[in-house]
């Protein structure tokens, strides 16, 4: 009987505990510091001291410590957190890892990020979801270039609370003077950043001083331990105070009687009866019902995943943003933003990328790199491209207008990622500053005389024959014969040739990757105007990069863009060398020569693939004409794709 009583009492205690858990909140923080600052040791110490290191993990740890450990026979706490095999062998942390521990008051999610300059990308990733940053410095070394970098990136990503962990204080004899020196230097330096709180703590992660337990060696320090500070800090909830924003994720339509919009509330609050506006089209309706995770509710707030239904039937789909009517977001197709570049392939202005903002994905290009920012000195420097781990302030041009807020006001509606259209990799992250007003001032003139009218008059369908291939492959020769043949048939044509355009329109451009992209962008736009005029345009450009050919293709309507791959092996081109360019490039007199020290990305699925070697160019031209005839481009007017 007594046994049952004990059990009942225990269960009651557990129930109390669980009830207390329901009000426990969560703090996400980031730790940054370099390998030697003892970051992994600090996290290991937090996990260890908060008793979440289970016995068998400890046993495995002791085994691993003997293999990889860097602290001799003692348990190496850092091994608890350095995850992947390769990293453990190299003894460094190279990726973002997430750790978890909990106390009575809070559950903590720690983003553990490496400190080297080349991992700016990873630190930004960890910072994007963090409420607070713990910046580690080695008390012996004091503030380093990297400390400044970490503070800058934390600030850029919108972190408002910072802890300066002055670690290895034991190695400077627990010196108050040394601690104050570092603290003051950091405070002065961090003045320029918009941190709400800044707490410096002297500690020894290795021995546990001031991590979770107050140090016995630093009576002079009266501030909190790291854990006390993390448990107690009010990080506020800016998203709750901001105007209501709701990116629609999914339209919920189980039957004809219910049409709801599912998503996560990015900011603010919403209640049944509120007026909401669909940003962009500016359609307004009232909230009819809200379904939360626990069923129907009368109101909901930032962070909650809900399904909202409206009084009126308005056309809303994934990617739309529902907003408060009183405080509406910006809507524009051009804005200025900070970008962190995360790919080995550089960012090239003019090259189209996919931009995902909220639940919407659009095509975007960087129209201008205003300046790059040196992450160590914060100096603004000019630049034409952006390399891995570089940060820049850029102007963006989007294929369509999107709603957004400045990142400073809203971390969800002001952030975006950039995706490479060919590799699908995430190549960049952006934080919007402001809309560029000129975006809203350019309105397209709707002309009555349109492409269809013009091409009907010319008795042909407009098209772009895009000849791509190495220098000397025979592009221009073939294009020239094709144009003559079309001319004889009475077709209206124009040829844009690489060399000719470079003497005029593009004479300001060189041969770097960035200039090559701009070169093709301009030619693509000119070809588009000719197409709009109803012409058959022949473009003869090396155009070495897939992305830019794709960009040109996307400018045209379906079926208008005909890629002709003049596939002549480089040995043959070199043999021909009609302009003596290969010889010069070989002598090093020409830099960035395609096929020699600049890559050529061959088309994978060109409309016409010409294997040119040993063929009469006349025959090749005839093949091209045959293709045009087959596609109906030479018969009658009207644009393509209308089944005429």
């Amino acid at each position: 009987m007594a046994n049952t009583d004990i059990q009942n009492a225990a269960e009651a205690a557990v129930n109390d505990y669980i009830l207390a858990q329901e009000s426990k909140d969560q703090l996400r923080f980031l730790t940054c510091g370099s390998v030697d600052d003892g970051k992994s040791t600090l996290i290991g110490r937090l996990l260890y001291d908060t008793k979440l290191i289970f016995e068998d993990q400890l046993a495995a740890l002791e085994r691993d410590s003997k293999k990889h450990g860097t602290v001799g026979e003692e348990i190496d706490l850092a091994l608890l957190v350095d995850g992947l095999e390769a990293e453990r062998e190299q003894g460094i942390t190279i990726d973002v890892a997430y750790r978890f521990f909990a106390t009575e008051k809070r559950k903590f999610i720690v983003a553990d990020t490496p400190g080297h300059e080349q991992y700016t990308r990873n630190m930004a990733t960890g910072a994007s979801t963090a409420d607070l940053a713990v910046l580690l410095v080695d008390a012996r070394n004091g503030l380093m270039v990297q400390t400044r970098r970490h503070a800058f990136i934390a600030s850029l990503l919108g972190i408002r609370h910072v802890v300066l962990a002055v670690n290895k204080i034991d190695l400077v004899g627990f010196s108050e003077e040394r601690f104050n020196e570092i603290r003051k230097e950091f405070e002065t330096f961090a003045n320029g950043f918009d941190f709400e709180t800044l707490q410096a703590i002297p500690m020894s992660a290795r021995y546990g001083d001031n991590v979770t337990i107050k140090s016995e060696h630093m009576a002079w320090y009266s501030g909190p331990t790291l854990l006390e500070h993390l448990e107690g800090i009010e990080v506020g909830e800016h998203a709750l105070e901001a105007p209501f924003r709701f990116p629609v994720q999914w339209v919920n339509r189980p039957n004809l009687d219910f049409r709801g919009y599912s998503g996560t509330i990015a900011s603010g609050r919403v209640a049944v009866g509120d007026d909401l506006v669909v940003a962009g089209p500016a359609k307004i309706s009232k909230v009819k019902s809200i379904v939360g995770a626990g069923g129907e509710v009368s109101a909901a707030a930032a962070g909650e995943a809900v399904t909202i239904s409206l009084e009126d039937e308005i056309d809303i789909s994934r990617g739309d943003l529902l907003s408060s009517t009183a405080h509406r977001p910006e809507v524009a197709d051009q804005f200025a933003a900070h970008v962190i570049w995360m790919s080995d392939e550089p960012l090239l202005p003019g090259r189209p990328y996919l931009l995902k903002i909220g639940t919407r994905t659009v095509t975007a290009t960087v129209s201008e790199i205003k300046h790059k920012i040196n992450v160590n000195t914060f100096e603004h420097v000019a630049g034409k491209t952006l390399e891995l781990n570089e940060i820049a302030f850029c102007n963006f041009a989007l294929s369509t207008s999107v709603p957004f807020d400045p990142y400073e006001e809203n971390r969800t509606t002001g952030s975006f990622i950039l995706i490479d259209r060919l590799s699908n990799a995430t190549v960049g992250a952006g934080m919007i500053w402001f809309a560029l007003r000129r975006a809203s001032n350019i309105h397209w003139q709707a002309l009555d005389v349109d492409k269809q009218a013009r091409s009907e008059k010319l008795n042909q369908k407009p098209a772009v024959l895009w000849f791509t291939g190495l220098s000397g492959s025979g592009k221009s020769t073939i294009a020239s014969i094709v144009e003559k043949k079309l001319h004889i048939e009475g077709k209206h044509t124009y040829t844009l040739d690489g060399d000719n355009v470079r003497h005029g329109l593009n004479k300001d451009l060189g041969f770097t990757d960035a200039d090559r992209v701009e070169n093709i962008r301009r030619v693509g736009e000119v070809a588009k105007l000719f197409t709009d005029a109803g012409m058959i345009t022949l473009v003869s450009f090396i155009s070495p990069f897939k992305s830019e050919r794709r960009m040109a293709r996307d400018l045209m309507e379906d079926g208008e863009f005909i890629e002709v791959f003049v596939d002549t092996p480089i040995e043959e081109c070199r043999k021909r060398d009609p302009k003596g360019l290969y010889a010069k490039a070989d002598r090093g007199e020409i830099k960035n020569f395609t096929g020699i020290d600049s890559p050529y990305e061959a088309p994978e699925t060109p409309e016409i693939h010409v294997k040119n070697v040993g063929k009469d160019p006349q025959d090749v031209a005839e093949e091209v004409i045959a293709y045009l005839r087959e596609r109906g481009i030479l018969n009658g007017g009207g644009t393509n794709g209308e089944g005429s």
């Binding site: 225990a10 269960e11 205690a13 557990v14 129930n15 505990y17 669980i18 858990q21 329901e22 009000s23 909140d25 969560q26 289970f54 016995e55 068998d56 993990q57 691993d64 995850g83 992947l84 390769a86 990726d95 890892a97 997430y98 750790r99 978890f100 559950k107 999610i109 990308r121 990873n122 930004a124 990733t125 909830e237 709750l240 994720q249 919920n252 189980p254 599912s262 996560t264 609050r269 209640a271 049944v272 009866g273 509120d274 007026d275 379904v291 995770a293 109101a299 962070g303 909650e304 995943a305 996919l354 995902k356 969800t412 952030s415 975006f416 990622i417 995706i419 699908n424 995430t426 992250a429």
Partner: protein
Amino acid sequence: MNMQSHGMTPERLSNLKRLEAESIHIIREVAAEFSNPVMLYSIGKDSGVMLHLAMKAFYPSKPPFPLLHVDTTWKFRDMITFRDETAKRLGMDLIVHTNPEGIEKNISPFEHGSSVHTHIMKTEALKQALNKYGFDAAFGGARRDEEKSRAKERVFSFRNTNHGWDPKNQRPELWSLYNARISKGESIRAFPLSNWTELDIWQYILTENIPMVPLYFAAQRPVVERDGMLIMVDDERMKLLPGETVVEKMVRFRTLGCYPLTGAIESDADTLPAIVREMLIARTSERQGRLIDKDESASMEKKKREGYF
């Protein structure tokens, strides 16, 4: 504006509410971005929570994807019963796949060892099923706190056309913006429970009263002690080795898998609060009961590179 509802003081969401909302966001994002997603349902507590969250994410609609169970034919009988009941109760489509080669070769964890069995009946079987139905995204219930290599895995984890994972070449994942772009044949494994801990899972099960397989609760069960683990005799395929005897013990399971590979723990915890209590004073982490992790400490990372979930 309705002033009454706007008058309250701002309050941050609790840990569990924040986790719940984040998971629902991830589940919806997958459903919206992929053309043919599937939810891996392994019948355990994490799967149970994930499925519960999916039901919430699309309510009043049904989740727009089926469940997939990779059946090694060595799961506890109670798991299979529970699986079928759950699918029926929730009205979810359930696909069950077993590697036909494994059946043909009669692969058994007793005969072939845990590593061969896991490779053929789980890793290979999963790839077969994903290929067969052309799924471009698969939800899994893995958590980052389970094991070291998981700590670095993304929520949207990219897999190449061979279902392989490249830990050195993961896509950066910022804010709640998940990159769902893939080429033909590639896929994404999505982990909505990435930020949950084992304790969060049990607290949520308790708060939400989510049904669980009875094996999680302590009961008298026939077990054999083998290699330092208590293996339950779930059917006649388990042959006793010399010196082994079957004993009835009050046991439960902290994780569920193939019965020959899953160790029981001695426990009296036969209610959810009792399990949580046991959790709180636990001195051994949950994967201790799994044979497959014991081979080497980096074994999970190796398995995942090969396509293990």
